[in-house]
Point group: C2
Chain length 200, copies 2
């Protein structure tokens, strides 16, 4: 059935978006090709007209999830100065809303465990995505040593992701909330310390 020229690309984009959600929600093993297609209103057969394999879909889904993550970063930080931008990002990230919105949340928190044992395009896309997010944070840090800033940004990212990840795993809601609050404060304190020692 001859559709408008861009129809196939649009369909592919919708499949990737659904996969990016399903991937964060269910992980790479429970994500089923037929399930993703069904979410978009299609059957499984057409899948291989769009992707070479499930692995290829996972790769595209990871890219999409990071694309959304960068968008949220940009939206959250807006045009604030570096320090305010980082603080706003931490507030948005280390929050109950993020904890409860796994399927649309940051792929690092949702997938770090899975990607450590994943090979292929998804793993590579994940690494690229991490570097990009860490770079975004590092570029807003005050120091002049780029390697040091990257490591510090990675460490901040790790603590943000760890806090949300553990908050998701803990069953007691009060403990989960408190844990997020403590981590948020600690991470913002680290940021404050870096900025204050830099303009001393």
């Amino acid at each position: 059935m001859r559709y408008p020229d861009d129809h196939k690309q649009e369909t592919r984009a919708r499949v990737v978006k659904a996969a990016a959600r399903s991937l964060r929600q269910q992980g790479p093993d429970r994500l089923a090709v037929a399930g993703v297609m069904a979410e978009v209103g299609l059957t499984h057969g057409g899948f291989y007209a769009h992707f070479a394999s499930k692995e290829a879909l996972l790769g595209a889904a990871v890219e999409e999830a990071f694309r959304q993550g960068r968008k949220r970063f940009a939206l959250t930080t807006g045009d604030q100065d570096a320090r305010a931008a980082l603080e706003a990002y931490v507030d948005m990230y280390v929050s109950a809303a993020h904890r409860d919105g796994r399927e649309l949340g940051c792929p690092i928190t949702a997938l770090a465990g899975d990607m450590a044992r994943q090979a292929g395009p998804a793993r590579e896309a994940f690494d690229t995505g991490i570097k990009s997010l860490i770079g975004g944070i590092a570029s807003r840090l005050p120091g002049e040593n780029e390697a040091a800033n990257t490591a510090l940004a990675g460490s901040l990212m790790a603590e943000m992701a760890g806090a949300v990840s553990l908050a998701r795993a803990v069953a007691d809601p009060a403990l989960s909330d408190n844990l997020l609050e403590q981590s948020r404060a600690a991470i913002k304190a680290r940021i404050a310390a870096v900025f204050e020692s830099s303009d001393r």
Copy 2:
């Protein structure tokens, strides 16, 4: 074949141990019942003489992994005083060795992502295990407010787990090492701050 009375229990223990390794290495979905049995030198058929289901095995495996974690905590901290014990634990936990030893490492780091989407005995055992580890940390913190200490301990645990988890996900070894170092320093600084403000 009638074996010594405790043979079955011993076999079961060996299966659980193998499962605890395989679970941390491969995750709950890729862990295969037949694979675990083969690791112990058995075939898949006997499995249901020991466990009611794969779910039951996962539950036992999570318990075993936390048992090992508590043992390592005790071994690392020894009879040092509270502050030294915590610092030693952080050094052991946020390390390249732990990053590289996933299959015998802390289940929180290895499984938090998976357990957030897991139901049944494994999920419950994971929650119990987390509480126990957090309790072990909280009991060594100086403050007198137990709820606050628990939340702080959870936050420290989250940052430790996050650091190791991200260090595993990052492909660049130098960045991974530096990230661990930065996180280790930041977490120990938090511990130092808590102790110093308490005996001021």
